[in-house]
């Protein structure tokens, strides 16, 4: 037993020594080797060696590893996450000091990668369980969705537990909180609190759903061919165009506006209950500035999405469940007019659970806040 303890102690001392004096390559070159991981495991062997060297350097490198996530791809981010976790574990076992002040400064610099900052936050929480009380109240607008979520959760709980001076104060509290919330469950929970105060929130508008569209179709999707066929609407928008659609029927653009919750468009209602069919939906939106956006759609059907003629997303999957925001395409809105096109494909399944043909689409930022745009979709005369 004594020998084992001596052995463990020696290992710990050796690790601590390596951590103190550093060894081998410098941190920057180790990070480069880890971040070079490629597809299908290419680069794993080199990355694995570098990972071990990096971890052996000890807690002093934690801020550098966190910063290394800034320009890392999602795969490398997870490699680096494991390094931070392992370093902190080993430091806890050997009594090595974690550079908490530097990690705190890293967390507070919102220019860093959101996930890296979240990991920094978790490191601090592990060191001091009171960290959330110290930091979260000031993080309601944090660009890290996970940090913001925790901040909103605390404020929501406080709001539910509090006694307010007046109903107006209570309304203002939850209204303000609604503007900070981004995740759907929290938005719903805050809306429910406001509803108790007789305040109805228009969630369709809050989330930024597009409710006025032009539709054209049906085009053929028998045996799934339509998902891959580029029908004329994909080649440019002209309101006056007419095309031959499914079964050689003449099709033209027609207006469709929805008042269904969360901007849902039921194509079985709008176009007819069809199988093996494709419909395109078009909307024009105006933006006051150029900005990065996400087109987020929900649909039980196979979909493709374009922004200003550039395809930003495709997914060929039918009737496996619909969720808000399940399909995400990333692009850039121009200042002025922008064109959104979504292709919604229905297959030929006859099962009762495979009849939905619908979609919803919203324009938002990377955290999910509605992007301020004006719907300027043309009217059919």
């Amino acid at each position: 037993m004594t020998r084992i303890m001596l052995h463990c102690g020696a290992c710990g001392l050796l690790w601590a020594l390596c951590a103190t004096i550093g060894s081998g390559q410098d941190v920057a070159s180790l990070l480069i080797r880890i971040k070079a991981v490629g597809k299908e495991g290419v680069g794993n062997v080199e990355a694995s060696k570098a990972w071990k060297e990096l971890v052996a350097k000890g807690p002093g490198v934690m801020p550098d590893v966190l910063a290394g996530m800034d320009d890392a791809n999602p795969v490398a981010v997870n490699w680096l996450r494991a390094a931070v976790e392992a370093i902190q574990d080993k430091a806890a076992q050997t009594g090595q000091k974690i550079p908490a002040e530097k990690i705190d400064a890293f967390l507070k610099d919102t220019r860093h990668n959101g996930r890296a900052r979240r990991l920094a936050y978790e490191c601090l929480v592990r060191l001091d369980p009171k960290t959330p009380d110290r930091l979260l109240p000031k993080m309601l607008d944090d660009p890290s969705s996970e940090i913001r979520r925790d901040a909103v959760a605390v404020k929501l709980k406080d709001g539910k537990d509090s006694k307010f001076d007046s109903t107006d104060t209570q309304k203002k509290y939850f209204h303000d909180l609604l503007n900070h919330a981004r995740d759907r469950d929290q938005v719903n929970a805050i809306s429910a609190e406001l509803k108790k105060l007789k305040v109805e929130i228009d969630l369709t508008t809050h989330f930024g759903f597009v409710t006025r569209w032009l539709l054209i179709g049906p085009f053929d999707n028998v045996k799934g061919v339509g998902f891959h066929n580029a029908y004329p609407p994909e080649k440019g928008f002209d309101l006056k165009s007419e095309f031959l659609g499914k079964a050689d029927a003449q099709v033209r653009w027609k207006e469709h506006a929805t008042e269904k919750p969360l901007g849902m468009i039921d194509l079985n209602e709008a176009v007819g209950k069809l199988k093996g069919a494709v419909v395109y939906a078009y909307a024009a939106v105006a933006s006051e500035s150029e900005r990065a956006v996400e087109l987020r759609a929900g649909s039980n059907n196979a979909v493709r999405m374009w922004l200003n003629g550039k395809e930003v997303y495709f997914r060929e999957e039918y009737h496996h469940g619909m969720e808000m925001d399940q399909h995400v395409g990333k692009g850039v809105l121009k200042k002025g007019r922008n064109e959104i096109l979504i292709k919604v494909c229905q297959n030929e399944q006859t099962d009762s659970w495979a009849q939905l043909w619908s979609f919803q689409l919203r324009v938002c930022d990377a955290l999910g806040a509605a992007t301020p745009v004006t719907n300027m979709t043309e009217k059919v005369k």
Partner: protein, 401 residues
């Protein structure tokens, strides 16, 4: 003589330790049969509980156990965006380490399942965890990262909005995975030391949760995959196809079992077949429409096959003929596969009641033990204990050490 004796004792210790491992989905060998003996038959949330450990999130994966360590996966955070691997000491339940990866694939799924549906696999030195997000990670026994891959990063259309649940297995240096989904579908042998592809074959697109198993046929190892185009056997070292049984299409949920040279497959009809020589189609021995298992994979042992369906009907059939020997109805809903150990069949319902039946031609209910919690993961046995994984905790059922 003395060094030789020491070596023999060490070998005996290693061998016996190996026999008790529960290294993958459904325990050692992946067949739902454990060599563990003297397992407890009576327990509750307090009685015969060796230890209980809280888990940070749900999982349908069963714990895997080797080298004195218990590894379990979980999914956590908003929209299941974190995939977690935890390691516990098998004797004390002390958490030794916890690691997380951020999901790189879709986390959408049917409410019944979650991203920690596939069970990890361990070779004792390392643990290999695959998540329904396509995140595939290997840690050593101390929690140090050996390698990590995003299969969605590699093959961007991989994903299934219902969720994926196929568990990996190991053969020699190959980590064998099957990723049948709504996008790019494939099976692969991945170098377990480096995470690089050793071989990769196309598989049909669609929903499939049937985990591959490795069997011995004519002295050769074969990995079996089952899907909408039937069963295929491949060389686990090269991926080369060996034989196909196109009529034995899958039911999407439960996986095969294997015993005495016979494969028992929950196909459209429950089928017992003997794999043929070379490329020959297997010889179908019998088929039964009475033995539909739902989510629960069957168990074969000593000439009998045990099949549990989602509604709690337990059927024991003659492995040679498929004739029903006995039928017993249990209360509750069943997702976990049954486990056979110590001459007993352990059948766990979602509400936490484990009914213990005698594994024999004679129907005999030996005990029923309840822990109020939600259980969808398959029980496994190791170290003289039964390990039950609920939505919230890991229970080690056994006498305290």
């Amino acid at each position: 003589m003395k060094p030789l004796l020491s070596f023999m004792i060490l070998l005996l210790l290693v061998t016996s330790a190996r026999a008790e491992d529960a290294d993958q989905f459904r325990g050692a060998g992946g067949l739902g049969v454990s060599k563990e003996t003297n397992l407890p038959t009576k327990w509750s949330a307090t009685e015969n509980l060796r230890w209980k450990a809280a888990l940070p999130g749900k999982g349908l994966s069963n714990p895997v156990i080797a080298g004195g360590r218990v590894y379990v996966t979980a999914t956590g955070a908003y929209q299941q965006n974190r995939q977690v691997v935890l390691c516990f000491d098998v004797t004390t339940g002390k958490k030794l380490w916890e690691r997380q990866v951020w999901a790189t694939g879709t986390t959408q799924c049917h409410p019944k399942t979650n991203m920690a549906a596939p069970t990890p696999v361990t070779d004792g030195e390392r643990v290999y965890a695959l998540f329904a997000t396509g995140d595939l990670v290997c840690y050593d026994r101390d929690g140090d990262l050996v390698w990590y891959r995003s299969l969605v990063g590699d093959y961007p259309t991989v994903g299934n909005n219902v969720g994926m649940a196929t568990s990996p297995t190991i053969w020699n240096e190959n980590l064998l995975i099957c990723m049948e989904n709504a996008g790019e579908s494939f099976a692969a042998g991945i170098d377990k030391r480096t995470g690089e592809n050793r071989w990769r074959i196309e598989r049909p697109r669609g929903i499939n949760w049937v985990s591959p198993i490795v069997i011995q046929n004519q002295g050769q190892a074969e990995v079996l995959f089952q899907g909408p185009a039937g069963i295929e056997a491949h060389d686990p070292n090269t991926g080369k196809k060996k034989w196909t049984a196109p009529k034995l299409r899958h039911t999407a949920y439960a996986t095969f079992t294997f015993g005495d040279g016979v494969v028992f497959s929950p196909s459209e009809k429950f089928t017992a077949f003997r794999p043929g020589k070379g490329a020959a189609e297997p010889e179908v021995l019998w088929q039964s429409i009475k033995l539909r298992p739902g989510y629960c994979s069957p168990v074969a042992h000593q000439g009998l096959v045990y099949v549990v369906n989602g509604g709690g009907v337990v059927n024991c059939a003659d492995a040679k003929t498929g004739e029903i020997v006995w039928t017993h109805r249990l209360d509750g809903t069943f997702t976990a596969s049954p486990m056979l150990a110590d001459g007993k069949l352990f059948v766990l319902n979602e509400a936490g009641t484990t009914t213990i039946l005698q594994a024999s031609k004679e129907l005999k209910v030996l005990a029923a033990n309840s822990i109020k919690d939600t259980f969808l993961a398959t029980p496994v046995a190791s170290d003289g204990a039964i390990f039950l994984r609920s939505d919230e905790a890991l229970y080690c059922i056994g006498a305290k050490k």
